[in-house]
């Protein structure tokens, strides 16, 4: 109950608990994505780029 009153009172000036709730939500939303880790798509892409470079270099050094 107290929280509701506080929220209404602080519409103009941001209350400390409103601010910390925003922070919590923001981090929860963000960390939810971070917890996916690195999707295969990106590790694969870097691996292919590396391989591609190596084959190009091989071709170059043969000439």
């Amino acid at each position: 109950m107290q929280t509701e009153v506080n929220q209404r009172k602080t519409r103009g000036r941001l209350g400390r608990d409103v601010q910390s709730k925003i922070g919590q939500q923001l981090r929860a939303m963000y960390d939810d994505v971070v917890s996916d880790g690195v999707p295969d798509r990106f590790t694969e892409m870097l691996r292919k780029l590396d391989e591609g470079k190596e084959t190009e270099q091989d071709k170059g050094s043969n000439g």
């Binding site: 109950m1 107290q2 929280t3 509701e4 506080n6 929220q7 209404r8 602080t10 519409r11 941001l14 608990d17 409103v18 601010q19 910390s20 709730k21 925003i22 922070g23 919590q24 939500q25 923001l26 981090r27 929860a28 939303m29 963000y30 960390d31 939810d32 994505v33 971070v34 917890s35 996916d36 880790g37 690195v38 999707p39 798509r41 990106f42 590790t43 892409m45 870097l46 780029l49 590396d50 470079k53 190596e54 270099q57």
Partner: protein, 183 residues
């Protein structure tokens, strides 16, 4: 030029939070992953301009942010509807947006001006200092501070308006809030 394995590892290590940043900016997972991919390619192509010993993550955030900015400006020229388009895209393609449980919060975030949104995320979620965020956004530290403050005030307003009684969709947050209210 072959990418140094330690640099490649540092790049990959930055990917999870780059994605979180990109999704927060664009509101769309597919676009976010394309942005991250483009960021990786640019980072690799420009690795010579990376100063060893500096923060790889901050460097890549700068690249991603600039990519998003130039794309946003381009779209803004093409599409007249400047404030509404992003919010609309959230509404019309809910299945493309990430986790449903954060939808309300994301919708509110989407209503912030891009300057404020990115500042809030960098400082409030990515964990960058005001100084680092200022570097990433290429502006003064004071500017970042005021953007973050305005973003918080606006979000508090938006969320209070959209759900007058409870804040945020999940129970645990509400429990934390209740505990905080008593103290």
């Amino acid at each position: 030029m072959t990418l140094n394995p330690s640099l490649r590892d540092a790049m990959l290590a930055a990917v999870p939070s780059l994605r979180a940043f990109a999704i927060s900016l664009s509101g769309n997972i597919d676009r976010a992953d394309d942005l991250v991919q483009e960021t990786l390619l640019r980072a690799i192509a420009n690795i010579d301009s990376f100063q060893p010993g500096t923060n790889m993550s901050a460097w890549m955030f700068t690249i991603l942010r600039n990519l998003f900015r130039s794309e946003y400006r381009k779209r803004r020229r093409e599409v007249e509807d400047t404030d509404g388009s992003y919010a609309e895209s959230l509404k019309s393609h809910p299945e493309q947006n990430s986790r449903l449980e954060f939808q309300e919060f994301r919708a509110a975030l989407a209503k912030l001006p891009p300057d404020q949104r990115e500042a809030l995320i960098l400082v409030g979620a990515s964990g960058f200092s005001y100084e680092e965020a200022a570097q990433i956004c290429d502006c003064a530290v004071g500017t970042i501070k005021s953007r973050v403050n305005r973003a918080r005030t606006r979000l508090a307003d938006l969320l209070a308006i959209e759900s007058s009684e409870d804040f945020g969709p999940d129970q645990s947050t509400r429990a934390i809030m209740a505990a905080g209210g008593r103290g």
